[in-house]
């Protein structure tokens, strides 16, 4: 019995020593592994997308997550970049866009609130009503529509997709009947592309005389193709803030 106990005690001690050594190795291995892993990542180079240069503008190449399939990366050429922030294709006839001006939203995204801010900065007299009904359109000469659906915005405003679509349809009917000039503004970028957003966009494009577009939303050429096919002027902007420059040119 005594021999057995001593043997057990020795075994326990050996196990403790082995476990301590294993833990020490584990700590050392972990820290070394992390350092190596970081170094490995730091030293890895990835191929950068190569831009092709069209004659008309200084291009850059962008990649976006298409909302249609987030796993599909869409590579496309852009005409705007950090140095060339606004590219207008065609000529915008600013004399068409006269007061009174209405600014509204199709899709209740925050882009309409941004347009509201932009109009204030530019110093334009206008009315902002993101949820205006068809009966509120009469009397205006120009309507600026921020297109782009936001489920958060619709939810916050307590408006269903069906109601918003019906409102948009009714407004466009009134716009046509009253002969308003329409500026289609898609300034939320690629995150404002999607099935519902495109429904609103198509509705507005059909009666627009001018398009303002944050260019990363044009990854499939939807807007530039439409503008080309219908001979519409289109202002491509690099970032939302560049709307200030475009609106200053249109309204001032």
């Amino acid at each position: 019995m005594i021999r057995n106990n001593s043997g057990g005690e020795i075994m326990n001690r050996i196990i403790i020593v082995i476990m301590t050594v294993v833990m020490l190795f584990a700590f050392v291995a972990c820290s070394k592994g992390a350092a190596e892993s970081a170094a490995e990542v730091k030293n890895t180079k990835t191929a950068q997308p190569v831009a092709s240069v069209p004659a008309a503008a200084t291009p850059s190449t962008g990649t976006v997550d298409s909302e249609y399939d987030p796993n599909v990366k869409v590579e496309f050429e852009t005409q705007t970049n950090a140095d060339r922030r606004v590219v207008t294709i065609g000529t915008i006839d600013k004399s068409r866009y006269i007061a009174p001006i209405l600014v509204t939203s199709f899709g209740q995204s925050t882009d309409a609130a941004m347009l509201d801010t932009v109009m204030k900065r530019v110093g334009v007299d206008y009315t902002y009503n993101p949820a205006v009904g068809a009966d509120g359109v009469a009397g205006y000469k120009t309507i600026v529509i921020a297109v782009g659906a936001s489920t958060k915005g619709l939810g916050a405003a307590g408006i269903s997709e069906a109601d918003e679509t019906a409102r948009a349809k009714a407004i466009m009917k009134e716009v046509e009947a009253n002969g308003l000039e329409v500026i289609c503004c898609h300034i939320g970028g690629s995150s404002r592309r999607g099935a519902l957003s495109d429904v609103f966009t198509d509705m507005v494009l059909s009666q627009s005389s001018c398009i303002v577009l944050k260019e990363d939303a044009n990854f499939d050429g939807k807007f530039t193709d439409y503008a080309k096919a219908h001979n519409l002027p289109i202002s491509l902007i690099f970032a939302t803030k560049d709307t200030v420059q475009v609106f200053t040119e249109i309204f001032k």
């Binding site: 992390a34 990542v41 990649t63 925050t110 204030k120 958060k152 307590g158 200030v244």
Partner: protein
């Protein structure tokens, strides 16, 4: 003395050699950051003033009041809602130390979840503290806590809990019962974290707060970085107008920023539940914190203060991270400057739309000025 006793005593002494310094180090997390004097701070109160149930608990926290004495609006700034999001606390402290309010009133809470500052996230390999050496050579130490209340102060996490907002905490969300930003609008006699939330809710009501900014940070995987969440109100939709104006101003300064509405189901979060239940305009801003995501490498002061995280830069280049991870890191000072600039532009926009409730700030400078100053110039020496 029996040999066995001697052996036991030796083992205990050896254990104490390790345990005592570890305990001292752990308890040092209770040592709160000092704040430099600012003659423009008119009053310092404890949150228990508004939520008496907090009195004597580890979650009772200071609020600093900077009152211009000139009638205007009231801004409430929350830092340290999540103690591991360092830019929130540092921004709040920098406001307390530098701000002069020329009209209206500003109330700042640097350690909103004070209990959360007393423990870390050990399994995330988080650092517990970091130092900033100031221009005069002295050093200030800041804690990096855990996003949740310390379980020593609030335990156990119930297997099911329904907060006052209606948010149901169940399954993997159990621990969120200790998350200040899930338990709004709080409960005076609820669990400790709810008492904190109730204190802030009551403070907003009692002090007639008009505008609230809750400062946060997120890991690079988070979709709402460089973004301000805004509550939508049926009777007062101007919060988005103010936030959009702020976002445009920041964009014109070359800083990415956008404003988004609160999520429909963001129950219990400050911007949603305080917005729904008070008259204040609620905003919550997020900056990118490279130390917070699961890909972060070695946790050291370089990562915390200089924001260098090559793993995330690589992940972004490979298309796995949406956020445009800066090539040269995202230093703490830039994140602090972003928060402070956001607050400054929010107040400007608010004052333009509500001239009778204007909140006019001085002493914090522009984004570029703050970055040039650096943390060493922005933070003041403490006595």
């Amino acid at each position: 003395m029996n040999k066995t006793y001697i052996k036991n005593i030796i083992v205990i002494l050896i254990a104490l050699v390790f345990a005592v310094p570890a305990s001292i180090d752990f308890l040092s997390m209770h040592a709160q950051e000092q704040i430099a004097d600012n003659p423009h701070v008119s009053d310092v109160r404890m949150l228990s003033y508004y939520s008496p149930g907090l009195k004597g608990t580890a979650s009772d926290t200071e609020l600093f009041i900077l009152d211009s004495g000139k009638p205007g609006g009231t801004l409430l700034v929350l830092g340290g809602t999540h103690p591991n999001e360092s830019a929130g606390m540092i921004s709040a402290i920098s406001l307390v130390e530098n701000l002069k309010v020329n009209q209206g009133r500003v109330i700042v809470i640097p350690w909103t979840n004070k209990s959360g500052f007393t423990h870390t996230s050990p399994l995330d390999g988080m650092l517990d503290k970091f130092d900033i050496t100031l221009a005069d050579g002295c050093t200030r130490t800041f804690r990096i806590g855990n996003r949740l209340t310390n379980p020593v102060d609030q335990w156990p996490d119930r297997s099911f809990y329904k907060g006052t907002s209606g948010r149901k905490l169940v399954g993997t969300e159990n621990a969120e019962i200790r998350n200040v930003n899930r338990m709004y609008y709080g409960k005076a006699d609820g669990v400790l974290t709810e008492k904190v939330c109730y204190g802030i809710f009551d403070l907003i009501q009692s002090e007639d707060v008009n505008l609230v900014m809750d400062m946060h940070e997120g890991s690079p995987e988070f979709l709402y970085l460089d973004c301000t969440m805004v509550n939508w109100k049926q009777d007062n939709s101007t919060a988005m107008s103010i936030a959009s104006s702020m976002a445009l101003s920041m964009q014109l300064d070359g800083l990415d920023m956008r404003a988004e509405y609160s999520g429909k189901s963001s129950y219990g979060l400050s911007h949603r539940s305080l917005g729904d239940n008070t008259s204040a305009m609620m905003t919550l801003m997020e900056t990118y914190n490279p130390s917070m995501g699961p890909l972060h490498g070695k946790m050291d002061e370089d990562l915390i203060v200089n924001g260098n995280e090559p793993n995330y830069l690589q992940a972004h280049r490979d298309g796995y991270v949406y956020f445009d991870v800066p090539e040269n890191g995202y230093p703490l000072i830039q994140r602090v400057a972003r928060h402070v600039t956001c607050i400054s532009y929010l107040c400007q926009a608010f004052s333009e739309e509500n001239p009778d409730k204007a909140i006019v700030l001085e002493g914090i400078g522009t984004y570029d000025e703050i970055v040039v100053k650096g943390l060493e110039g922005l933070l003041k020496p403490v006595k």
